[in-house]
Symmetry: C4
Subunit: 450 residues, 4 copies
């Protein structure tokens, strides 16, 4: 009798069973299971469907069978787990077909699942950097400069300037587009470096002139430099300066010519004027010109200091190196973490600075020996310790101060290390994708539509 009862059960069981042929692999489950997630493709299965085969009593779906085992399990257990052996977008495409929401993925799979989204973001950022555009195609160039390609070919009387404009533009703005463009880029780089070297050497001679007047005893601690000055003094300082001035004139002239040409041929004058690179360029060049004239009449440390603008030109070098672009891009992506790092350093320095300041003051008997004269100095000490630099210009002298100093050192190691991890991960991710990208072709054949 038990047997009999069982048979009935089995019959009911078999009645309830449903076979799904997914890409050739058979999956079996109960019909009730498929009803558990309403308004999805599987919950609406009826024998009237095209893909129902009455002969084999199965529904055929031309989909990926591997992913489906994970999807069917979602119906069974109510939990959607991410299959680790397939790529994120493939899984998402399958979910979409089955009418499921990819946001239903379980928390334990969030990290692995969101990884492919991060990958997509990274790839988009890398594409945005235009790292591998060696040369804008002629067609794109024409569009950029608003020239009708066909008319241009016919209209031989077209403005001479309009014809040259894109050629010159490419010469100055795309270093890898042709041999002459590379030469111009090299000159540009040389001039930038030269302009900074002149600035350097200038401080040598200035100090030199200065050093003759000031008391020699003062630079006792720096005899090496003094000896160098001696050498300079032997060669005529003026003579030496003349060379520097000539080089400066050459570099300034180059920058004026370069900027003018690039402005004249720029397809979009507004965009040109508001680009950071050009603003720096303009400020540096115009200040160089003003400085040449002003130097004849006035001599002021403040005016001298403004020359530092010239060093900012170094940022232009960045655009010539793809590796640097990636570093800067990854730093931008990790901006919130860097903010955190800076905030952390400021908060900790304030805390430790104040603590060490008072510790030193309290436990030193003789106030004259306390080198921490004010909290800002203790703050500087704390920053220098947190970054593990430790110049030694300030260091605690009392036991209590050293206790806090030791704590500060350990905190520094942790504090700097933790946010760095994230920045390093982001950068490593960028770099690895960049390397992967460089190994694969840029153009890919597309498949035919059905």
């Amino acid at each position: 009798m038990t047997n009999n009862l069982n048979t009935i059960h089995v019959d009911m069981d078999l009645e309830n069973r449903v076979v799904l042929n997914v890409g050739g692999t058979r999956f079996e489950t109960y019909k009730t299971i498929l009803k558990k997630i309403p308004a999805t493709r599987l919950s609406r299965l009826t024998e009237a469907l095209v893909n129902y085969d009455p002969a084999t009593n199965e529904y055929f779906f031309d989909r990926h069978p591997g992913v489906f085992s994970q999807i069917l399990n979602y119906y069974r257990t109510g939990k959607l787990h991410y299959p680790i052996n397939v790529c994120g977008p493939l899984f998402e495409e399958e979910l979409e077909f089955w009418g499921l929401d990819s946001n239903q993925v379980e928390p334990c799979c969030w990290k692995t699942y969101t990884k492919h989204r991060a990958t997509e973001e990274t790839l988009a950022t890398l594409d945005g950097l235009n790292l591998d555009v060696d040369r804008t195609s002629k067609h794109d160039l024409m569009i950029k400069f608003g020239i009708d390609e066909h008319r241009a070919l016919m209209d031989s009387k077209m403005n001479y300037f309009k014809r040259l404009q894109p050629i010159i533009w490419q010469l100055f703005e795309e270093p890898r587009s042709s041999k002459p463009a590379t030469v111009i880029a090299s000159i540009q780089i040389t001039m930038i470096i030269l302009s900074v070297v002149i600035l350097w050497l200038g401080t040598y001679t200035e100090t030199n002139v200065h050093s003759i007047n000031i008391n020699k005893e003062i630079i006792k601690s720096n005899n090496v430099t003094e000896n160098m000055f001696e050498t300079f003094r032997i060669m005529d300082a003026d003579f030496y300066n003349i060379y520097l001035v000539i080089l400066e004139y050459i570099s300034v002239s180059w920058f004026i010519v370069d900027m003018s040409v690039r402005f004249i041929v720029a397809p979009n004058k507004r965009a040109f004027l508001f680009s950071t690179d050009n603003i720096i360029d303009f400020l540096a060049t115009s200040w160089s010109v003003i400085d040449i004239f002003i130097r004849l009449y006035v001599k002021s440390i403040l005016l001298d200091s403004l020359k530092v603008i010239r060093v900012l030109r170094f940022f232009r070098l960045l655009s010539y190196h793809s590796g640097l672009k990636v570093i800067i891009s990854s730093l931008k992506t990790s901006a919130p973490v860097l903010q955190l790092l800076v905030f952390f350093i400021i908060v900790s320095s304030t805390l430790y600075g104040a603590m060490i300041f008072y510790a030193e003051r309290l436990t030193t008997d003789d106030a004259d020996n306390n080198i921490f004269i004010s909290i800002p100095e203790a703050f500087w000490y704390a920053i220098v310790s947190l970054t593990t630099i430790g110049y030694g210009d300030f260091s605690p002298k009392t036991s209590l101060g050293r206790l806090f100093g030791g704590a500060c050192a350990v905190t520094g190691v942790l504090m700097v290390g933790l946010p760095m991890t994230i920045v390093v991960e982001i950068f490593s991710n960028f770099f690895n994708h960049l390397r992967a990208r460089s190994k694969l072709p840029k153009q890919r054949r597309r498949i035919l539509p059905v």
Copy 2:
């Protein structure tokens, strides 16, 4: 005859065979194999079961076929390996269905297997941080303040205070709940920073007054600061102090008001009084008040030093930044490793400190040149070297001392690096989960029960 024997064997073999249809995929094994792990679902298979189909001679189980291949292998080989391509909880659920114990997983899979448990712990910790609660819902708020929502709506004569209490509470305690709440939070942050800046500037003027009296020669090495003092001296020191005092009065008043309001509207006065943040707040504010009065009569470095309590208020800033909360949370999780790090630094510093102290003493002829006057100083030297800060206030001068110093430096690099790895991993794990979490929706639809 051999042939004959074989046929019999085959028959026996076929008799012993069992077919398991798991979610549509057929698995075949021998019945004896299934008996190897007693008291499990598979060891108790009988043809009387509902899921036995006599027509196909197979048992049907509506389970995940992929995981089952791993489970059946456990019966075959006696070793339970974790399938790397499915998520931990999914595997555990399947194990539970088949009546197996997830603790039987082989040692070689422990690390991968326990990963999902760590993930669950991490997610629980992150949930506990209340990072994304922008605003307590009205319903939860009513419960928190013990107000019966329905009665409140009807009973228009309800205590005026009782009605305002949750509104004001939200204004002061949930910065992101509304515009005015954000404004109050901003004032709070400004006041905290202001109170610390006043402390800083205070030490400037104090030293200033002090510096007039003390011998100028002493601060020779710090002429920069001296020059700054000169500037202060020009502007009337008293005048300058008046501004500072006014600002201090404003900030102290704010803190008194803020604390009072928050105390009055707190739903749980006890919890309020015993929260660390509030204790710091109370100590800092009350000391500020006492200090204002005391300053008129007494002038003592010790009393001055107590002002440092104010800096502790900076810890309150942490509650306004979710990134900081995560850092602190991951530091708490890695507390045992940090203890290890601190213990390691102390043990090593003691060892190296003592060794370098005696090394310097033994190998220096002239004791007057030995800068390590006692072991505690050598201990400080060792800490400064182990953390690779190296202030240079102490450094070995003899060959033997330098040998130990070099060993200390290398040890430092290793010692600090090793525990840091673990802390960094924990933090990176927290941060990545946080990032994954932020990309997924907070509310998820649930499936229907069968």
Copy 3:
């Protein structure tokens, strides 16, 4: 006709085909393919085998179907790839069944494949550390002390010492075995720390006595310490010393008692005498005793310095902390890399030291200003720079010297970083396994044999 030819081909093709039923999943291939790797289970398939089923014309193997797809592919392509989704030992077990050699795995899979072997080694090392043995079981204890358990129960007249021996042993050697054992361990730790603290304080008073005699001006730079001395001078130095001496007598007495007891109850006297911990203990304790007597007659820095042996006792603390055991164990495992690091630092320091020494000497006009008086000093400078400590006691003063110094700094960052990576990986691996281990049960049920 082509059709006809084809049919024949198909027949031949079908004839050559073979179906393998592996754990319920059918695999099909050609018989010739299976002959490619001779002397394996599949190359010797004949229809006379027990597992050949003439009805379905297939061979049945009760093995893991997932791994088999990888194994069959080895026959097809001649290349054995490691299936990433199964655990290493599982794969090895399957390979053994099929008569294949796991060493045939392709080079591209070596890294992933050898990972599980590394895991096994790590687990073996961790087991060897006896991290979780809280208490030796009574049975094991009896065996350790060579006592026949049964006889012991009956023979009530057994030697009193023989009965107490294991109990006392456990009290002194297994801190977590019982409450009193924990108390004894705590006393031991306290005494070790006390003995080192006495050493520290001793150098204070010694210097004190010394400092009265020497010219005060010498310690000008260290007024803090001087002030502390002043305090000591006020309290009678002799009186202060008496306390230290009493504490020293107590600690020395404890160590004598502890060592004697542990030696008496040790089950294996030889092993006890040759353990590093006990040798350190013996040297430290016996020197303390000798020192007490010698101090009355002689006063020598060399004898004083020998006291440093006492600090080595700190190593005994390691045995009380499982985290430290793991760190030391991972350092042992990474010994070759550490040797490399030390060798690298020595080679680089020599190279940079010599280069900077000559650079400074060549380009400085005035030899008196050259602070690098000999190569060993430049070597010390290079070590201090390579480890990024940078005390600043030596630093190059000429441009050429600074060029080499800069190179040295960059080299240091790389040099220390690279081997550290490996050490950090090894440690992280150890630690993660340790964490995984701690989450799983120690005793596991075993399955029944077939």
Copy 4:
């Protein structure tokens, strides 16, 4: 009627269906799907093919079924995703069979997919390092020296030198080939170290002689060294020098003999002369010889400095340590990143150097206190800070200077950290592969061809 229509649909649907038996696993899809990617094996399926079985109406392919599910999905969705659970080369082999292009892999899988290519490159580099060649086989040796093995055996009158040449070559060039070869290598290493130690000690005695003449007051700050000099002065300086000179003669003689022998037996004299190791050796040895004679007549710091060439011999030690070879090899691989690091350090140092120089100059009232006398000094300060060494020879003294200094410190932590990540990853990859390699056998049995 709907039913009727459906039936027709189904018929059409069934007509369009195609069954692919891939290694025993059935895959089903529509014929139109297979036409989507033209000119591939699947797009050209016809029933006339050998592997079409009319009985079961399926096409048989003896390929890996797991990978095929991914390939079929490419036809379905038009996107080729990399299956994460199989090894790269296996996937590529399958793609080739199916006539697909591995470059069509989706961007999201690039990183995982290109990993195996990186692995192959790494393995090729490691093979190129000849790490495990202990001894060239006799056969290879004969080929290297151009000796006909068979003739050599018979022709007993063969040139005596020609017979000895390979034996001596192996003795001097392959340290691990035999016991005597190991002894010679040990002598070589000892001599290299000895030659450097002599150089070291030489600078001691030189300074000694020098120090007698110069004013004692100058080395006040270095009394330790002075005391050591005193000791030297007591033992006769000349006597001491004699020992050094004898040792130098021995080492120089050894290098002459070693170089001569190695040159005489070298199979390829040209390659020998142009190898970097030999050039260094030749320069160092010949300079040592010249120096011995020149020293008798001239005494010049410049000539002395040339002795530093000898230290370069240390590079030869690299060839005796496989770990060092791997480090150098991974540094070569990461050369572009290291260039980036150096470029980054130079650009940042220039920027920060100039900024801090002007900041200090602008905000210091008394120019005499400004320690940054010229930009190159500020540049040195910036390098020292960016690498977190911080000697403290220069450090900003004004608030503005310290602000830039703090920024420089934080930049340093980031700047050095980011490229280091990549170098560390490359090295770690090398090392892990090396470890994996060492665990697997060098010779592997190959399978038979079909």
